[in-house]
Symmetry: C2
Subunit: 457 residues, 2 copies
């Protein structure tokens, strides 16, 4: 039995040490999508492996994949107790636009209650919080109440292209009762949350081609379908006037929200002015007609433009008629949409709508998997709910999340177990954006929540 | 009287020397829009000034402007004869995308009948051709039959922002009977042309803003009007299904084509397959319904996207909901459209069509002036027509050009004279695009055409 009192005392007395671990890990620019950061990926993996080694795990290993390595550790000294597979990732998103950061993205900087760095909330802060809880329980709390396997991957931000294979190759080693996924957040600093629904992801690049090279816009303008214009026409047509996505069949398999679930979701506190601030103050909200923002964000699928490029984008003017134009487009999927089917739908849309004046090309970039819903009544979910209520003094809300955690569905499909999804990010943490931050009081409450969670099992 | 025979003999005997001048000038990366090339701008201006000095001009000067200097020279030893203001520019367009060039843009390279370099056709080739004709006439032909003032500016490719002021400040010095504008081309290597109509230019940058910074597309996707999507919607709406531009009032002042002019334009030889190859093989032509391609290119106004940018455009995937999106948009204007009115029309379109879910911002980037039509019956136009027929053995066609030469309308407005527009570029010279080239046989025929032109006055 974990001596929870000693473990809590230890983490409270060693906050500076734990914060330093977070700073050291966040200082490593482990951007998985950029080849020039491959050495940094190795350094970040080594750092995580060392944290596991110092906590007296039975086994710690850096395990190769076709891409970046998985860091794995296990502590299996609680016979007869459940086995939890703790999931995290040590990779981060790129940092551009770099000039919008107020401090260097890889020089973690504390300002007020927050610490700023790329990946600090998504999800190095969550990684260090759960590892600190494990370390305190094992080294200073007399051991864990459960068996733990830890899997920290390095490819989440690029869609976990090699994780399926890894799970399949090590199915026996990874055998567990359920998974704890820490790649998540809360609604407000005072309101903990357990996520029971996640959206899936499908990501594409569309190229529209016209002439074989850029042309002079005076010499040829008016006689050729400008690829940038044609791309805008195609992208503009992907939503109708009511904010619905027009890809043929896109909503066919979307699971409708039951009146009961809509009522439950309506109980989540929602303050429009606060929500606008969290969303970095757009003039107003926008979305699919007939749904609340909470429903749009968790229970309805999306199609977003992630990037646009054509022609001359430097300072000043260049009178070019571009040869080509590109849009990065991604969809957040809900049960029971299928990423493969969505690709077929996008292809069908382009086939139907693209005019004969241009050529187009569609490239799928790392499908992230379908959306998932996990049970709220499981042992793990109940242990989590109790832990959160103990630490925060208020019962957590159960919510559906807008983001994608493809590993949750991969673990369900390959290992056959559900995930408990609990993390300590906040909506205004600027994930994937400049000035990403982690709220430090929440980081420390997160450590204690994980301590209680493991003790509750 | 010019001894035309001696002058022609001289240029034929010194083709290598003249080509070397072209190579030396084209090797200087005089990109006027990029601040880092300011020293190169000075070197290019010095080079042109030295060419003028070696031909025994009465006066040669580098004249400052608020931007890049004007190179000026004059030879005024033909009392009682007309005075011609020769116009050229020594600046060039940027070179991106650099990786699509087959040889370095500033290492002029001869392959077959062509020489490749940025600015070689637009318009250093035309500059050197007319200067070689002047030099041969003055130094080896016993002098010119007319008075000549030469004005070579350095800001044409950025919309000549300081030329108006320069013309106004030096109105007396620049007094002339007409201007010879060499910034032009032909339809085919065997068919010379005199341009009597030019389109104007208005260039804008539109920014659409949503949230104050980039957001996570999972966390916020579906609840905010994606600025890249909103921009695509706005750009897509700028043309209707018949290729007409939808800005309110855009066609109100467009001078309709008379049946006579349409008949004249229809006499210009046009081969669709050849035209498609010249346009770098788009799948097919596209344009305003009810007009031929020749009419669309010269006599009808356009609206083109010159650049598009939003969000993440690097390799791979980044699941960002961008804070903002940008389009560079330019219009080619015909008489009697006014660049200021067009800006008002674009602003009115955005005001009417932009949804309340986003903010937008419109920036005018160097208005290039209105379109112009010049008389075909003038002394200068007739001297040019005769010169071209002598050298090419075929009468030139009179055509309207799709490009913008704002200086033609500035010279009309400030100095009160028309321009004869005659140059020796070709439609497939890749102006403003990778692998810009000048056809060398035409370059040499151009020198002789200018020789005859000056002798005909």
């Amino acid at each position: 039995m974990t001596d929870l009192h000693s473990a809590i005392h230890h983490v409270r007395a060693h906050q500076d040490y734990i914060l330093q671990e977070l700073i050291d890990l966040a200082a490593i620019p482990s951007i998985s999508t950029l080849p020039q950061h491959k050495p940094d990926m190795g350094r970040a993996a080594e750092y995580v492996a060392n944290v596991l080694k110092t906590m007296g795990m039975n086994k710690v290993a850096m395990m190769p994949t076709a891409g970046h390595p998985v860091v794995y550790g296990e502590w299996l000294n609680a016979p007869g107790k459940p086995t939890v597979l703790v999931y995290g990732h040590y990779d981060v998103q790129p940092v551009d636009p770099l000039n919008e950061w107020h401090s260097d993205p890889f020089t973690p900087t504390v300002r007020g209650d927050n610490i700023y760095a790329r990946g600090i909330s998504d999800m190095k802060g969550q990684d260090i919080a759960v590892l600190a809880a494990l370390a305190a329980s094992i080294n200073h709390g007399g051991g864990l109440n459960c068996n733990v396997k830890v899997l920290i991957e390095g490819e989440e931000e690029i869609g976990s292209p090699n994780l399926n294979q890894f799970l399949a190759d090590h199915k026996e080693m990874l055998k567990c009762d359920f998974s704890l996924n820490c790649d998540s957040g809360m609604l407000r600093p005072d309101l903990p949350a357990i996520v029971y629904g996640l959206r899936g992801l499908a990501y594409f690049e569309i190229w529209v081609h016209g002439p074989e090279h850029d042309l002079h816009s005076g010499q040829f303008g008016g006689s050729i379908h400008n690829p940038a214009q044609a791309l805008c026409e195609l992208v503009a047509g992907m939503h109708d006037a009511e904010g619905r996505i027009t890809l043929p069949g896109y909503y066919d398999k979307v699971r409708p929200l039951s009146p009961e679930e809509r009522a439950d979701l309506a109980r989540i506190p929602y303050d429009e002015a606060y929500a606008l601030r969290e969303a970095a103050n757009p003039p107003m909200f926008y979305g699919e007609k007939g749904y609340t923002n909470i429903e749009r964000l968790g229970a309805r699928p999306t199609l977003e433009v992630n990037g646009l490029y054509s022609g001359f984008i430097g300072e000043g003017s260049k009178t070019v008629l571009p040869a080509k134009a590109m849009a990065k487009i991604s969809m957040r999927l809900v049960p029971d949409q299928d990423p493969e089917e969505v690709e077929t739908q996008l292809r069908a849309y382009l086939t139907q709508k693209a005019p004969p004046t241009i050529r187009w090309d569609l490239k799928a970039l790392g499908k992230g998997g379908p959306g998932v819903l996990t049970p709220r009544e499981s042992v793990g979910a109940q242990a989590a709910a109790q832990a959160l209520e103990t630490v925060f003094g208020v019962a957590p809300v159960f919510k559906r999340d807008g983001g994608s955690v493809p590993v949750v569905s991969q673990i369900k499909n390959i290992l056959g177990v559900d995930s408990v999804i609990m993390g300590f990010g906040l909506p205004d943490d600027n994930l994937h954006a400049p000035n990403e931050k982690q709220h430090l009081p929440n980081f420390y409450r997160g450590i204690e929540s994980y301590l209680h969670f493991f003790a509750n099992l």
